[in-house]
């Protein structure tokens, strides 16, 4: 079974996936660092050229049209044209960790996920990486550039994926592929993949849910600057209501599968790439379904929730079951919706604020803006918990 089935470790008596435990412990060490100095384009170009020559072993490399990409609350992103005498010219993307961001994730896991998924769904192709950051200044990866948009070019939504409304034709095209690719991701048999950076929650039926609860409650407790009674209530409720996950329901969970995290071509309406694999893990398939249906990146039409602005929730669940044979448990779905909102509050009202306060990000101003979405997530979480109580 390879190292995927490694035993779980306990960090401060918390049962967490070992890679996540290591990652969270490492993030605490970054806190005392001085302000993050944003690199100039010239500095980035110099680092890239040295990397291409010494690490990628390209001959006479040149970097042209280097530009920063907007968006990306957690990563610094650059696009550039790469040429060399022993390399076909290619447009590339450099995706680099700032000192701290909205979430703490590992480039090593992200690259591993891209390598696993490259033959399954369209993803950016990983070309080179620097997991430690001693060559490129910060942990980073370089992929090919994939064209496409995350929202209609005339859209007025202020953050990619938040409340994106599509016209009927676009919606019909995208929803079919959106569903097909989700099913394809969940069909990958993680048991056959020998990759040491993913561990499976197989110690007991509740470990999948417990690992996620422990991950995000640890993030909240480590990063919060003030308490929120509702977060405590949600934590207590989740711990009292951990769902079971049977082995066949354990899948590679993308964990941020929603509108805003795929690129599509506005002419052909084809999805050109599924993005943001940094939170991928082995877990319960309900987690991705619940996340895609969070209201903030969905829309409501005639009183019906359109998952990620694309497909009515009932149809989404029905299609998923028809295609995969997996039966959706409404209680488990509800649990993962609460978890998804809890996670979103932790990201907005704790980690983002902390990173901005310490000037540890290249977009502190975006983080302090995004933080205010936390109250929307909190309100939605309260409604979900109330529904549970009234059942």
């Amino acid at each position: 079974m390879g190292s995927v089935m490694a035993d779980s470790v306990i960090l401060n008596n918390v049962d967490l996936e070992p890679e996540i435990a290591t990652l969270l412990a490492g993030s605490l060490r970054l806190r005392h660092k001085p302000s993050y100095k944003i690199k100039t384009l010239q500095e980035v170009e110099t680092l890239l050229l040295a990397f291409m020559e010494n690490e990628a072993l390209l001959k006479s490399p040149s970097v042209k049209n280097l530009k920063r990409l907007g968006g990306g609350a957690s990563k610094e992103q650059f696009v550039f044209d790469l040429c060399a005498t022993n390399f076909s010219p290619q447009r590339c993307v450099l995706r680099m960790d700032p000192l701290e961001g909205a979430i703490v994730t590992s480039r090593k896991r992200e690259v591993a996920a891209l390598e696993i998924m490259t033959s399954v769904v369209p993803v950016p192709k990983p070309l080179w990486s620097d997991f430690v950051g001693d060559k490129l200044g910060q942990p980073a990866m370089i992929t090919n550039f994939v064209p496409g948009v995350t929202k209609p070019t005339n859209s007025d939504s202020n953050v990619s994926g938040f409340g994106t409304a599509f016209d009927k034709t676009t919606r019909e095209h995208l929803s079919e592929t959106f569903m097909r690719y989700l099913v394809a991701i969940h069909s990958v048999d993680w048991r056959t993949i020998n990759h040491d950076c993913f561990q499976a929650p197989v110690a007991d039926p509740q470990q999948a849910a417990r690992w996620q609860v422990n991950w995000w409650t640890t993030v909240w407790h480590n990063d919060k600057s003030q308490g929120l009674p509702l977060m405590a209530l949600a934590e207590q409720w989740m711990r009292d209501n951990l769902p079971d996950t049977s082995g066949e329901n354990l899948v590679f969970v993308h964990s941020d599968y929603r509108t805003g995290n795929y690129l599509y071509d506005e002419q052909s309406l084809e999805i050109t790439s599924i993005l943001d694999w940094e939170l991928v893990h082995i877990g319960d398939f309900h987690e991705d379904l619940a996340w895609a249906a969070i209201e903030t990146w969905s829309t409501v039409e005639n009183g019906m929730l359109m998952v990620s602005g694309l497909i009515p929730i009932d149809e989404f669940c029905q299609l998923y079951t028809e295609t995969t044979g997996r039966k959706i448990n409404r209680k488990t779905l509800h649990f993962y919706q609460v978890l998804g909102l809890y996670k979103s509050v932790a990201v907005c009202l704790a980690t983002s604020i902390n990173a901005a306060r310490r000037s540890h990000n290249h977009q502190d101003i975006l983080l302090s803006w995004l933080a205010t979405a936390g109250y929307k997530f909190l309100s939605d979480m309260r409604i979900l918990l109330e529904q549970e109580r009234n059942k």
Binding site: L69, G70, F162, L230, W369, Y375, L378
Partner: protein, 143 residues
């Protein structure tokens, strides 16, 4: 105070909108985005100007009421008892850590089921008010 904070914020928005933003390279999407966010933050500050102390006071009052209720019903093992005492001290000293201690008590691992049941609705009621206040406060940000 002359000039007022309101006037200064208004002039910043105008400078950003009419002079600085048009001068930024349209190809530089990151800087364009940051400039727009800055205008948004300034507009939010304008709308919130002068009300922050009042909002914080309302929040603290509601939190205090919740804390008083929780100390009256908290029941459980040693951890719950110790945290209940900690919360009473935080109330007496009007400590800034009040919200943190409330969280600690709610998540106490040895709390009784009765305590959890009786705490549920008051926490939900407090949160409804507090969330509505937070959403209203940041409404201008578009969430």
């Amino acid at each position: 105070m002359i000039p007022s904070a309101e006037l200064r914020l208004n002039t910043m928005v105008r400078a950003m909108t009419e002079s600085i933003l048009p001068a930024i390279d349209p190809e530089n999407s990151l800087v364009q985005e940051q400039a727009r966010l800055m205008i948004g933050h300034l507009q939010a500050l304008l709308q919130q100007h002068g009300r922050e102390a009042e909002i914080n006071q309302q929040e603290y009052q509601d939190l205090t009421q919740l804390a008083i209720f929780l100390t009256s019903v908290a029941d459980g093992g040693e951890y719950t008892k110790t945290t209940r005492n900690e919360l009473m001290q935080a109330l007496d000293s009007q400590s800034a850590s009040l919200s943190l201690v409330i969280e600690k008590l709610i998540t106490a691992p040895d709390a009784t089921t009765e305590f959890k049941k009786s705490a549920w609705q008051p926490i939900m009621d407090y949160s409804e008010k507090s969330n509505a206040r937070g959403r209203d406060w940041f409404k201008v940000m578009g969430f």
